[in-house]
């Protein structure tokens, strides 16, 4: 069953936060006057919801957009749901479509913002899609990939996982990758690091003239643990400028902790929000004084991301 039949994308607060952070970061790069991203084109897996496409158009004013959908019914629904006239939906496999996108009259030779937002785990086919994009994307493109980080997808037995990851990510994986780093909470961080190392190694290996600058490293979780990784495929002359933007302390897409947003009712969220921003930090006693209670971790996450915390009534309107 395709994932759009099982998940209503709008109901995942961590995902919503992650998505907003991604587009906010891209906006920062676009604001840099030495990097011309004004003609950026968006390529994604819009599914039937097109949430990312909406943000790309509304927040970044990107016009030319491509959505890829391989499911038969999904394709018809996607075509029906395409939110703007400039969204083209292709009924194809990513790997078969990519070569024609590199030659596409509308978007070739323009910077791309590609987001391969897979629901599934990183596997041989996502690896070949990412490799191809690193090799052939136009310069100044941004490449982002999201995949499932559930440990079981990389081997039912923890002891099989290091070998599986070596198989997937190749020679940049240290020989002594431990079973421990492929278990529990560590698995997300491990996967993100290995995927980014893979992308860096690939970009150097294929001799891209600019650098691949790591810019996205966001583990997050609503139900299943997920990982979003990616970077900027700089041109030779934009490398330094992009470095300055991305290495800024408050670049939001490399948080030091996974994004795990608490599930709050609209009433709870707005009550908490009314106390923010707050110099001393939200405490449980503040929450208790509001008439309910939350765990410390939930509070910390809310305080960090409240500006991006979804208010569903708005989105569904």
């Amino acid at each position: 069953m395709a994932s759009f039949d099982t998940v209503n994308y709008s109901l995942r607060p961590s995902k919503t936060i992650e998505r907003q952070l991604v587009f906010e970061s891209v906006a920062r790069l676009r604001a840099c006057e030495n990097i011309d991203l004004s003609r950026q084109a968006y390529i994604g897996l819009g599914s039937v919801w097109f949430t990312d496409f909406n943000l790309a158009h509304r927040m970044l004013r990107i016009e030319d957009m491509v959505s890829i959908e391989k499911d038969d019914i999904g394709f018809k629904r996607a075509r029906f749901n395409a939110p703007f006239s400039t969204v083209r939906v292709f009924h194809d496999d990513i790997s078969t479509l990519l070569p024609s996108l590199y030659r596409d009259d509308i978007i070739r030779d323009r910077p791309w913002l590609v987001w391969l937002d897979y629901d599934s785990e990183f596997d041989e086919s996502s690896r070949s899609d990412i490799s191809s994009l690193i090799e052939k994307s136009p310069e100044n493109s941004i490449l982002i990939a999201t995949f499932n980080a559930h440990e079981r997808n990389y081997g039912g037995n923890a002891s099989d996982r290091p070998d599986r990851l070596k198989d997937l990510f190749g020679s940049s994986v240290p020989d002594d990758l431990s079973k421990k780093s492929c278990k529990g909470e560590k698995m997300q961080t491990t996967l993100a690091k290995l995927a980014l190392d893979f992308m860096t190694a690939k970009s150097i290996d294929v001799g891209r003239p600019g650098n691949f600058i790591e810019a996205f490293n966001m583990p997050y979780r609503d139900g299943s643990p997920m990982v979003t990784v990616g970077g900027f495929l700089a041109a030779e002359e934009t490398t330094e400028y992009a470095n300055v933007v991305i290495q800024n302390q408050d670049w939001p897409c490399m948080p030091n902790k996974p994004i795990v947003a608490p599930l709050l009712t609209a009433r709870e969220a707005s009550a908490l929000q009314s106390k923010l921003p707050c110099n001393t930090g939200l405490t449980r006693s503040i929450v208790q004084s509001l008439g309910f209670d939350l765990e410390e971790g939930q509070l910390e996450a809310f305080e960090k991301y409240y500006r991006h915390y979804p208010s569903f009534a708005q989105i569904l309107a």
Partner: protein, 456 residues
């Protein structure tokens, strides 16, 4: 025309020279060259001698630290340093002077390693040495700004030498900044760094077993250990003898045999998700430094006059050949220390022994097809032995069991293709996501057979 007193100019320019010596060597080999220098110094400190496999641990007090960032490469060691005389007279001249001294049993032959390495790495170089001589400690620094040096049109190719503070221990420290473009991108490449770690782990495995510590970006490099299987029916071959290259004696030690069971289905090499035969083949070491690894080419005899080309069927075979000579020029290696000098007669004579052992192995892998069940059970019973422990054994021929054909049940081969994603998911559910495709096929057959047919 008066040609008297006319001469054709043939002086090399520095620029040409720098480009030429750095062109045909890889960055990894350059880094290994610097490690070689440190290793040679360490051996010199210990009194040079051949470090045969069976010899005692000698290098445990020595360490080498290699650090890389996107802007700086550095290597430092506590292996005794370079004396002032060595620096002023030998180490920086290009090519060895006829009267220069080489460390006995060293691996630096041509006096080009360090210069070539630092020039390849970058253009702002600082070489600092601290030495203890006659209970006195002194230090000096040789700074090289390559661009400046190349642009100066001096007929003399000297470098400056300065006083310097003492390093923490007697040793050498080389720092390179203004990295060359290719160097900088490689040092940023996580795959390059992991591969470098693997290469160090393999090529210095004999030194690491002797106690030497090497750190790459402050993480200890674990030595690679080679094991061969042994039991009452399997025994690795061991051959030792002295050979001669000119006036120099070259000691030769060969150990080879079964490291793992050969593959069950040799046609399967494409679909292997494990290491396959990556580590198999011949290893050749010169004064302990491994210069040829896992070789399955004509260099080590495969596909030459005496042996067929390497085939996946032969996987499981590992052999190591060690050459020791007090005069490194007598060793059969090329200047990059990445390959055998096949014109060396010492090497060609060793290859006769190597071929003989390999031939026994080839015959065994053919023979075992006749009674694969028996072969597998015998192989399973053999225990791995570290090759250092084998070094103490007497010379012997390789021992492999004779196997005879048994009456065969008629076999059917099944071949089909499925979606790779689905295969991986099934492998995971069958208990091992890394299972070979073939095993997934067999397991699914057994599972269905058991379900639908039941007992035979």
């Amino acid at each position: 025309m008066d040609l008297k007193d006319k001469k054709v100019k043939a002086n090399p320019t520095k620029n040409f020279f720098v480009r030429m010596i750095t062109r045909d060597i890889g960055l990894d080999d350059c880094i290994l060259d610097l490690i070689d220098n440190a290793v040679d110094s360490a051996w010199a400190q210990e009194g040079s001698q051949p470090s045969e496999l069976s010899s005692e641990i000698k290098l445990e007090s020595y360490n080498i630290h290699i650090n890389t960032t996107k802007d700086v490469f550095s290597i430092r060691d506590n292996c005794g340093g370079m004396s002032l005389t060595d620096a002023t007279e030998y180490a920086f001249s290009f090519g060895r002077n006829e009267d220069s001294r080489t460390h006995e049993y060293s691996i630096g032959v041509y006096g080009i390693g360090m210069k070539r390495a630092v020039f390849k790495l970058g253009s702002c170089i600082r070489i600092q040495s601290t030495v203890v001589e006659d209970d006195e400690t002194y230090s000096f620094l040789v700074p090289i700004d390559v661009d400046d040096w190349v642009s100066r049109n001096d007929p003399v190719w000297d470098f400056d030498i300065e006083e310097a503070e003492d390093l923490a221990e007697a040793g050498l420290q080389i720092t390179v900044e203004k990295l060359a473009k290719g160097t900088a991108s490689s040092l940023k490449n996580p795959a390059f760094l992991e591969d470098l770690r693997r290469t160090i782990s393999r090529d210095y495995s004999l030194h690491i077993q002797q106690g030497l510590s090497i750190f790459l970006n402050e993480k200890h490099v674990e030595g690679w250990s080679l094991e061969l299987k042994s039991s009452d029916v399997y025994k690795p071959a061991k051959v030792t003898y002295d050979d001669k290259e000119g006036a120099s004696i070259v000691r030769v030690e060969i150990i080879a045999g079964m490291a793992a069971s050969p593959p069950e289905n040799p046609g399967d090499s494409e679909s292997q998700s494990n290491d396959g035969d990556r580590k198999d083949g011949w290893y050749v070491a010169c004064n302990s430094r491994i210069i040829l690894a896992a070789d399955k080419s004509k260099t080590s005899g495969w596909g030459g006059d005496s042996l067929p080309r390497w085939h996946y069927q032969y996987a499981g075979f590992i052999g190591i050949v060690l050459f020791y000579a007090s005069e490194p020029a007598a060793l059969p290696m090329t200047t990059t220390k990445r390959n055998i000098d096949e014109s060396s007669e010492v090497y060609r004579r060793a290859r006769v022994h190597m071929n003989k052992i390999a031939r026994e192995w080839i015959d065994y892998t053919n023979r075992r097809k006749l009674d694969i069940v028996e072969a597998k059970s015998l192989e399973k019973a053999a225990k791995p032995v570290n090759f250092r422990d084998l070094a103490n054994d007497q010379d012997s021929e390789v021992k492999l069991p004779p196997l005879k054909s048994t009456p065969k049940v008629k076999q059917a081969n099944v071949l089909y293709s499925v979606d790779q994603k689905r295969l991986k998911k099934l492998a995971n559910e069958l208990g091992d996501i890394n299972m070979t495709y073939r095993d997934v096929g067999i397991k699914s057959f057994d599972y269905t057979y058991d379900d639908l047919v039941g007992e035979d």
